[in-house]
């Protein structure tokens, strides 16, 4: 059942060692920083983390990696100008990496939420990222078999929630939130605002409340953690 929770600490308290945790966001947009900080504080370790990147700078996921709490990253783009904590762990052989083309990452997460057992895609065919994977030619195109990525927990950020847990997002901060919410057994959303049930137009809801388990309001920090140019 849907729960509204007062603090990010309580929201993540149930995350166990060894969990697979999806973390929304692309760059800083849509990153649930406060939930990630809480995950850092709660001590859960031996985590498999699914995110587009592998942490940037000295915040959020990067710190989780620095502290040795992530045994495996599933992501599309770990290497960035400020991914030094991941880089160090990777070069030291202290973190496992499953590198996934971004579209396969998105589609595999979507497949998990949609009950798909696996799918064929042309993306990656004939490349080293398809090595060891099943392939077949479909309608004349080489295709690779990809499997769903399920998670125990998803940490996502949305703009608003209503009393039923329905979510809307803001601009490109939407990114992975909706598909991760559907792919995880337990979805925790931090939102900037909670509105009464009926306060969101049913036509415009992006994530229906059926995909959301815990909601915690986090006031947006004025000016803090704005997007940096990290291309």
């Amino acid at each position: 059942m849907l729960k509204f929770i007062d603090t990010v600490g309580e929201a993540v308290a149930g995350i166990r060692d060894g969990s697979t945790v999806m973390i929304g966001g692309f760059g800083n947009a849509g990153q649930p920083f406060e939930l990630i900080d809480a995950l850092l504080d709660c001590g859960a370790t031996d985590l498999t983390v699914v995110n587009n990147n592998a942490g940037q700078g000295d915040q959020g996921l990067a710190l989780l990696i620095k502290e040795g709490r992530v045994k495996k990253m599933i992501c599309s783009f770990p290497r960035q100008s400020d991914s030094w904590h991941f880089d160090a762990k990777y070069k030291a052989g202290q973190i496992e990496l499953e590198l996934v083309p971004q579209g396969n990452l998105a589609e595999r997460i979507r497949a998990a939420g949609a009950g798909i057992g696996g799918f064929f895609t042309p993306t990656g065919y004939g490349t080293m990222l398809a090595e060891g994977k099943e392939t077949r030619i479909i309608d004349g195109r080489g295709q690779v078999f990809e499997t769903p990525i399920h998670a125990d927990v998803a940490l996502i950020k949305a703009l608003k929630a209503d009393g039923k847990g329905n979510l809307v997002y803001r601009k490109t901060a939407r990114n992975f939130g909706p598909i991760m919410a559907a792919a995880a057994k337990h979805t925790i959303a931090q939102v900037s605002e909670i509105v009464p049930t009926g306060g969101l137009d049913p036509e415009n809801i992006v994530t229906p409340g059926i995909y959301v388990n815990s909601i915690v309001r986090v006031a947006p920090a004025a000016g803090a953690r704005t997007t940096e140019q990290v291309a």
Binding site: S76, Y90, Q102, I109, P122, R174, N175, F176, V230
Partner: protein, 227 residues
């Protein structure tokens, strides 16, 4: 249609990055939906004309992306695939990552423009990984773009700093996609890749013969009239 097999030298010197971006922009058909890769391809957006009515896609979930944001426009929730703050044009739309990549992977983009380490004579693309044993690999959306767009344009310098051709018989770098590149825009020439081998549409600062001397794959002149 008679095919006049003459390569036109359209510039007496190699093109700079901006001139090349202007050329790519000019070649994009009006009304197209386009994704511009990170780096050099991003320059193309500076030369698209309003009357072309080009819609830009960014894989992190938007169609109708506008120019880079400046000053007060900067909004941490509105960034492009390179994580640079951008703006929103009238008629824009937002969607989640699976829907965004469905646009790419489903063949709905008319053109994507990508940088490259190497392109092979048959249109194989290598642009994501040097293959160096100690390199940390990162692929992002490159494979989806390479495989999904109707046309894949590459922008690159023709030669490496060491003078080696990046247009090659077979890529030595790890592949991004197989047989996906349709055109290669370089400082020295525009190449069309496809089942007919590598055709040269135009050269910049060199003749076809001089170009052939730099490139280890057989070149032919493209039909003067664009197909």
């Amino acid at each position: 249609m008679s095919l006049v097999k003459t390569t036109i030298q359209t510039s007496d010197k190699p093109l700079g990055r901006d001139d090349l971006a202007r050329l790519v922009a000019r070649d994009i058909k009006p009304g197209s939906f386009v994704n511009l890769g990170i780096g050099q391809p991003t320059l193309v957006s500076n030369y698209l004309q309003p009357e072309q009515d080009i819609t830009l896609h960014t894989e992190n979930g938007m169609l109708g992306m506008g120019p880079e944001a400046t000053g007060e426009q900067i909004d941490g929730d509105l960034i492009n695939a390179g994580k640079i703050p951008v703006t929103e044009l009238p008629g824009a739309s937002y969607f989640h990552h699976a829907d965004s990549f469905a646009i790419m992977r489903g063949g709905h983009l008319d053109i994507c423009v990508l940088g490259a380490f190497q392109v092979s004579a048959t249109g194989d693309l290598a642009n994501w990984h040097t293959g160096a044993p100690d390199a940390i690999p990162a692929v992002g959306g490159a494979m989806d773009l390479a495989t999904g767009a109707k046309d894949v344009f590459v922008m690159m310098t023709l030669l490496t700093r060491d003078g080696a051709s990046k247009l090659v018989d077979t890529c030595t770098y790890p592949l991004t996609g197989v047989g996906c590149v349709t055109r290669v825009y370089t400082d020295k020439a525009v190449f069309l890749t496809g089942p007919d081998g590598v055709q040269v549409r135009e050269t910049f600062g060199c003749t076809l013969e001089e170009l052939q001397a730099m490139v280890p794959v057989p070149l032919t002149a493209a039909p003067a009239v664009e197909p």
